[in-house]
Subunit: 207 residues, 2 copies
DNA sequence: CGGAAACTGAACCGGGCAGTTTATATTCGA
DNA sequence: TCGAATATAAACTGCCCGGTTCAGTTTCCG
């Protein structure tokens, strides 16, 4: 009723906990780190931690949501809508791949999938604060492109889904299966450029 | 030396174990089922199970590899290389999505990702007996299409990577995050058809 | 038939880890 | 300064589950 924006945050060490959780989750993933460790690194007792968060999962959600929004914002920051479509797509694609290939991206994904069944809230939260917003922005941008006569699109949802998928072509699968764990900038560029080309071949105005 | 094709198979109940493991792993995933349960359903003692397989993971690998080869074979069976490229792509795409959306596909993926770090062999095994062979076949088919003058492709690897990725556009992500768990045939068809269109727009001969 | 190999069952080990408790100490605001 | 809110340390509970052991039983084959 009174305290502004304070539903869960009641103690002075809240931020330390969150920071520690962020660091450790990002580095080791959800399963890879124990609550004891998080508390220890936060310089906080386990009991205190559990005074803030009902359980490990909700702690993770908090971290994940914050991180997603940061990443999404960064991705969006580098976009100049005035530039020609292919150029923007290239920038977005590279930014997107950076996230996907990052420690955070991999871990986020891992958790969503491995915990997804028992913990549906997590996947939903992730989608809506990460890929979901990107999709919205992408659709908006594509509409702009159509309005400018650079694109011709009938199904914006499909187009907005296809582009990031094209950017991951091959890379993502090889990453998660461990076939290949490191990718050079050259490799990324090649795939992203290929994605832009394919996308423009389909949706570019007048063949 | 003597017994034909018997490296691991030494007892008469081997098949029962494998069958039970297959059924339960497919239904509940790797983490979702215990060794006790597998043994029980196989009508076999745990000790016997461990006489066949060194550990749970290798049991899973055995199941997974077999299943992958079955799926890959089925996928390949429905292909008539004589038909025009777009038609073949449509068939392959639909078959591919069937696998991806199946209980097996989801679980296979889940395990690869959640266990991948601690158990690299699994991911590799999966890739090589599933997506890897599909990629090979796809490249071969694309070369055929080029030879017939239906396609124009510079980087066959990239093209072979892009197509399945396009087929999953949006669907896969919504699946694993639990945003959407059921897909109608109409939805699938729409995405796959969109994938074929985009693919042909880029790689179809003479624009 | 007789012995070796395969199988059983059920207890047992052990490590990991989330979450709780409790008795005590610190902080901070009124 | 006093008491309520907050924090602490560390032990403790409880669960899960993979893997082992072993003494005794069944199967199979020569």
């Amino acid at each position: 009723m009174n305290s502004p924006a304070a539903v869960i945050r009641k103690g002075r060490k809240f931020d330390q906990v969150l920071a520690s959780a962020r660091a450790l989750f990002m580095q080791h993933g959800f399963e890879g780190i124990g609550v004891d460790e998080i508390a220890r690194r936060a310089g906080v007792s386990k009991a205190t931690l559990y005074a803030y968060f009902p359980d490990k999962r909700h702690l993770f959600i908090e971290v994940a949501r914050a991180e997603c929004m940061i990443q999404a914002a960064q991705l969006e920051a580098g976009i100049d809508l005035e530039k020609p479509v292919p150029e923007v797509l290239g920038i977005v694609g590279r930014g997107f791949m950076e996230i996907v290939l990052s420690e955070f991206g991999r871990n986020m994904f891992r958790v969503c999938i491995s915990e997804g069944e028992r913990f549906p809230e997590l996947g939903r939260q992730f989608y809506e604060s990460g890929p979901g917003v990107m999709r919205e922005r992408m659709m908006h941008f594509l509409e702009l492109g159509v309005a400018r006569g650079e694109l011709e699109i009938d199904d914006f949802g499909l187009a907005a889904d296809q582009f990031p998928e094209l950017c991951k072509a091959g890379v993502f699968l090889r990453l998660v299966t461990g076939i290949q764990t490191e990718f050079t900038q050259g490799e990324i560029d090649h795939v992203v450029d290929g994605a832009v080309e394919t996308f423009m071949a389909r949706f570019g105005a007048h063949g």
